[in-house]
């Protein structure tokens, strides 16, 4: 199986920080497929909270997800869909 990748624009208002970063990493851990995420020169495992934060990706940043593991297509689709949503806006105000 070759390298699969998806390029997506970070949609969350606060960028890939705080709650959006947490939701993204949780989903990557849950999927269990090794995925790497790249922004600019920096590539980190999608399961690393500190790595994902260190990308410093604000809203509008282009990031690339990549994986060559079995199940990569589905995992990348799920993670790319998450990044394309504004996860801050979905935060219920009374939560």
């Amino acid at each position: 199986m070759g390298l699969v990748h998806r390029t997506v624009i970070v949609a969350s208002a606060s960028g890939l920080h705080a709650r959006p970063a947490k939701l993204f990493v949780q989903e990557a851990v849950r999927l269990g497929v090794p995925v790497r995420i790249r922004a600019g020169e920096r590539t980190v495992p999608a399961t690393s909270m500190l790595g994902v934060l260190s990308l410093g990706a604000s809203r509008g940043t282009e990031v690339t997800l990549e994986s060559d593991a079995p199940g990569a297509e589905e995992a990348l689709d799920a993670l790319a869909a998450l990044l394309a949503r504004d996860l801050d806006a979905e935060e219920t105000l009374d939560a």
Binding site: A13, S14, G15, H17, A18, R19, K22, V25, Q26, V44, P45, T47, S48, M49, L50, G51, L53, S54, G56, S58, R59, A89, L93, D94, A95
Partner: protein, 535 residues
């Protein structure tokens, strides 16, 4: 439950900052562990195993706390911290250091340190997270050394928490086991005091010597008098807890609007941060006297949009007929990343509150637009006030901008002595005043709210503070306009009659404080209140 030899009865005294009494075994919050000298490593695999165990222990402890709290925001923060402790990059870095010959505590210290620097270098929100990594590092190093974990203890039984002081980060982990808080530092307006009042926990601050009392000693805490009695029997403690429970039950029975014994009405209002704070008890108050809007702006690179603000404000307006909205109260003392304000040498005296408008006028205009729109959509009539108003010109400009948007009830917070001295002139421009006693004390007495050694200057009974409050209430009376108090003093049942005697027309406080204030007011006639207030 720990059971050390019971020391002789002894009384320590501090400043009571949150009423109520409780008793139980004392547990001290452990400070950060000292990193011992590096030791030679003979078996790197053993160090690697210690590292994995330490990180797992830290994550498990945080998750247990997250599950144990009913506060969803605190649970999210704790969960995110647990994810950092479990971070695979971090663990690999620490393991590599161990393979290279460092012992587990030093390997953890180095790995956390490197990630901390990465985040700090990114600035803004991420730099603020660097402090979280320090906290996690201390926890992991303590676990690797076999020491108690720093932070809020979790002994598995109810206890009285004793600490040097509590930070906002500590308070996220405060669980249901905590009976009362005692700190050696802190003042009446410290984080500890505000948190304790919002949770209804008895609390004493500035209590010298309390850190010397051994863990497990049974103590009684009186959050009204500031007395901490050391060396009780478990039976004594059970009696104190039972008496407090009966007193709370009695207060819970009090209902209805605030009034003195002879029926003089005093509105009892709530201080809230969002609609979430309007719990089931909210119906028992007469409205919201302080709607802090900062929560919308936290952790943001950009200010919240007009639409987002409208939705958040409308949610509150729809729930209660009287709401006093305070426009954004931030600045260099309470920095928000999106404001992009440079650090100042003296932030309490710098750009804060309404002064942010001098550098970023768009923020206030959008907020006023959103408040007006939320009022239109809900059909409500919100009151709106600005924080840190200092001059009549500032008040007039704020009033003009609010009124041009159809907002009819416009006021100012009185936090700066200059504003209190001009209360009459301010009321020529405004419809009401709301006194923030915490900041008014800080600025009148030139005493930092958080300074541990100046708590006596921040006592709300200080005559100079009461004179400034009287200037405001007299101006309000002459103009026929309301003057309320929304600072911490408003929630203190012992101060309420005094404030009413000074002529204050409403008291706004944490929801948990309402029953005790209502009860105390109902025991005094207006004449008695006035006698308390006369010098």
């Amino acid at each position: 439950m720990p059971d050390p030899a019971r020391p002789p009865r002894q009384r320590l005294s501090g400043l009571g900052v949150s009423p109520g009494r409780s008793a139980g075994p004392l547990v001290r919050m452990a400070g950060p562990p000292a990193l011992p000298a590096a030791r030679p490593v003979t078996d790197p695999a053993a160090e690697v195993a210690t590292i994995a165990k330490a990180l797992e222990a830290v994550a498990a402890d945080l998750r247990r706390r997250a599950e144990g709290t009913s506060d969803t925001t605190a649970a999210e923060v704790l969960d995110a911290l647990a994810m950092m402790a479990e971070d695979p990059m971090l663990r690999e870095d620490a393991e590599r250091h161990a393979q290279d010959g460092l012992d587990a505590p030093h390997a953890l210290d180095a790995a956390f340190g490197a990630h901390r620097e990465t985040l700090a270098a990114l600035g803004g929100y991420l730099a603020e997270r660097a402090a979280d990594l320090d906290d996690l590092k201390y926890r992991a190093v303590a676990a690797a050394l076999g020491l108690p974990m720093p932070g809020i203890p979790s002994p598995g039984h109810p206890y009285v928490l004793v600490a040097e002081d509590l930070s906002p980060a500590d308070t996220a982990g405060l669980g249901a086991e905590v009976l009362a808080l005692v700190t050696e530092r802190g003042g009446p307006t410290s984080h500890t005091a505000i948190l304790a009042r919002s949770r209804g926990l008895p609390a004493v601050v500035a209590c010298r010597g309390v850190l010397d009392v051994p863990d497990g000693t049974v103590v009684a805490v009186d959050g009204r008098t500031g007395d901490v009695t050391v060396g009780l029997t478990p039976q004594d403690a059970a009696d104190v807890v039972e008496r407090d429970r009966r007193e709370r039950d009695r207060l819970a029975g009090s209902k209805g609007p605030g009034r003195t014994a002879d029926g003089h009405p005093v509105k009892l209002l709530l201080n809230i941060g969002s609609a979430a704070d309007l719990g089931p008890d909210a119906a028992d108050a007469e409205g919201v006297g302080l709607f802090r809007t900062e929560f919308l702006y936290l952790n943001r690179r950009q200010p919240p949009s007009f639409e987002e603000q409208v939705a958040a404000y409308a949610e509150v307006f729809a729930r209660t007929p009287l709401v006093v909205v305070r426009t954004l109260d931030a600045g260099t003392d309470k920095p928000l990343p999106f404001l992009g304000l440079p650090p100042e040498p003296n932030p309490a005296l710098g750009i804060r509150g309404l002064r942010v408008d001098r550098v970023l006028p768009g923020v206030l205009d959008t907020q006023l637009d959103a408040i007006a729109e939320a009022a239109r959509t809900t059909g409500g009539t919100p009151w709106v006030m600005a924080p840190m108003v200092t001059t009549v010109a500032e008040a007039a400009d704020f009033a003009r901008r609010a009124r041009s948007r159809g907002l009819t009830q416009v006021g100012a917070m009185i936090e700066v002595p200059a504003a209190a001295l001009q209360a009459e002139e301010l009321l020529a421009e405004l419809d009401f005043l709301s006194i923030g006693t915490n900041d008014l004390s800080q600025y009148t007495f030139a005493a930092d709210r958080q300074h541990p050694g100046l708590a006596d200057l921040l006592d709300p009974r200080q005559p100079a503070l009461l004179k400034l409050i009287a200037l405001c209430t007299e101006a309000g009376h002459a103009a026929g306009k309301p003057v309320g108090v929304c600072g911490e003093a408003a929630g203190d049942p012992l101060l309420a009659p005094l404030l009413v005697g000074l002529g204050v027309t409403s008291l706004s406080m944490a929801p948990v404080c309402v029953p005790a204030v209502r009860d105390e007011l109902s025991r005094h006639t207006l004449e008695e209140c006035r006698r308390l207030a006369s010098p």
